[in-house]
């Protein structure tokens, strides 16, 4: 009675094999991550100093620091998300909460899915036409705003998709409970749906921070220069419409491939700072998320 048969033993063995196999795959995912980040940080850390962070590049980037590129990256991330996050979230709320299934919403959903798959260089080319020349913010020259808008267009479909996902994870029964006491759609959204999906929504937006900070091709075409200081003192910041800017991603590309006499550690140092910037922005967003959750209402 209740003893192990060979058949059960075989099943148990398969179980162990499956567990090991899947565990190995999970580990295989993590190892490269640590190797890459570790390698970069170890190589780059010695070159990072206060001066490196706060001084402007000299001698074609071979000497000096990367202050302008750090500021430029913050500019691009900030302005880009300032467009894409609110528009994306509101569009997703409309699509998920208000829209009924019809030809219009089908087209929008189709566009969202397909836009998310367009390569970034294509977005860059679109940005040149749409924001540099057509919108013409800066007399046909590249500008921070054009780069930010290009990246906004690029991240918008992803933010819409992730926000919709977060919204539809709110159980239907909560909505029904609200409808049945005569709540309007907006009341349901504001009081129940958003508070319960805000974490997921912000997570989706946060993921786009690193994407925005890391993109090189589209911003190179639309608003990032290889060499553009804030000003000689390095104190006055960029003008978002009239200026181009430097950016860490572009600077890294330039230093690693185009510049001469660059110390070997410098590209790694830039990469380390880029990772650090992304982490800082993410940490800020996560702190914001925690703050929202801690307030009673949200």
């Amino acid at each position: 009675m209740f003893t192990e048969t060979p058949f059960i033993r075989k099943k148990k063995r398969n179980e162990v094999i499956a567990k090991c196999f899947f565990g190995f795959m999970a580990a295989a995912m993590v190892i490269p991550l640590f190797l890459i980040v570790g390698y970069i940080v170890v190589q780059g850390a010695p070159a990072i100093s206060w001066e490196f962070l706060t001084e402007n590049p000299r001698s074609g980037g071979a000497k000096g620091g990367i202050w302008a590129a750090i500021v430029g990256t913050f500019y691009i991330v900030f302005f880009s998300l300032a467009f894409s996050a609110p528009i994306g979230v509101l569009a997703a709320v409309y699509l998920n909460e208000y829209a009924t299934e019809n030809w219009f919403t089908r087209i929008v959903n189709l566009a969202v899915v397909n836009l998310a798959g367009v390569p970034s260089i294509v977005h860059g080319l679109f940005g040149v036409g749409a924001f540099v020349y057509f919108a013409n913010f800066n007399d046909g020259k590249k500008s921070i705003i054009a780069a930010a808008l290009t990246l906004a267009v690029m991240t918008l479909p992803v933010i819409i998709a992730s926000t919709k996902e977060a919204l539809s994870a709110v159980p239907r029964q909560f909505r029904e409970a609200c409808w049945n006491v005569g709540a309007t759609r907006w009341q349901v959204i504001w009081k129940i749906v958003l508070p319960n999906s805000i974490s997921g929504i912000l997570t989706g937006v946060i993921l786009q921070v690193s994407r925005t900070a890391g993109e090189t091709a589209p911003v190179m075409l639309t608003g990032v220069a290889t060499y553009k200081l804030l000003d000689s003192t390095g104190l006055f910041l960029y003008h978002p419409i009239k200026d181009q800017c430097m950016a860490l991603s572009m600077h890294l590309y330039y230093i690693a491939t185009q510049a001469n006499n660059v110390p070997k550690a410098t590209p790694f140092a830039i990469a380390t700072v880029l990772i650090g910037v992304v982490l800082i922005v993410n940490a800020a967003a996560i702190a914001f998320r925690v703050y929202l959750r801690s307030r009673k209402k949200w």
């Binding site: 909560f174 409970a177 309007t184 009081k191």
Partner: protein
Amino acid sequence: MTTATLNPPAAAGVDYAITTRDLKLWYAKFQALLGITCNIKKGQITSLIGPSGCGKTTLLRCFNRVNERYGYVTTTGEIKLLGKNIYDPDVSLIELRKSIGMVFQRPNPLPISVYENVVFGLRIHDEQGLKKSDYDDAVEKALTEVGLWNDLKDRLQMKATGLQLEQQQKLCIARLLPLKPEIILMDEPCSALDVGGTRAIEELMFALKGRYTIVIVTHNMAQARRASDECIFMLMGELIEHTLTTEMFVTPKNQKTAEYIEGRYG
């Protein structure tokens, strides 16, 4: 079989809370209600029985027009609540749903505090700027009415989703009361509860009876028998029999009703 005896027409001098005439409903192409005509008396408990999928939930959800939230639903026929045709152009869905409370099979408290759950309806309909004390009173009154006040008065700020199922279900009923609904619709309110919880909800129904008209869908014959004044038996989207509960369970007139309540199918 004369429908007149199986489904008595509206009688003069009787107050009806819900009357429907030839109510038909389609989910896209699928017809779920095949012409329901019924008269549900005011202040009574009417139970709705029938095998799974016969359209009980659908019928219930017609009464507050919540089916329409699905874009693909079509309804024809007439529904009057308290004498008012709810498809009249001047009917506001918000006002309608406010005065028709609904309780679901699975308790569905909102993921906010007990207190906020009870006043949720009040808050969203608050025009005249109720004071904190008004809300406090409403909470005490509603929770007392469903018998939760003594258990929960010190835990009003706890999240409602953390309560026991029975308490959750009572809370869902309490949530309706501050809006002073005329009619409470219950869709298998006890099917997620144990024996004790079921008894508690039934007792609550008796306590609310008279002031509110209650329509309860149930799978549980014994419950229909214990708890309701009148009983409606449905089958495949049709109303088969509507009589006093005592009559239905003692002398069912339709063969199918008899077979169902004897448990030959369901």
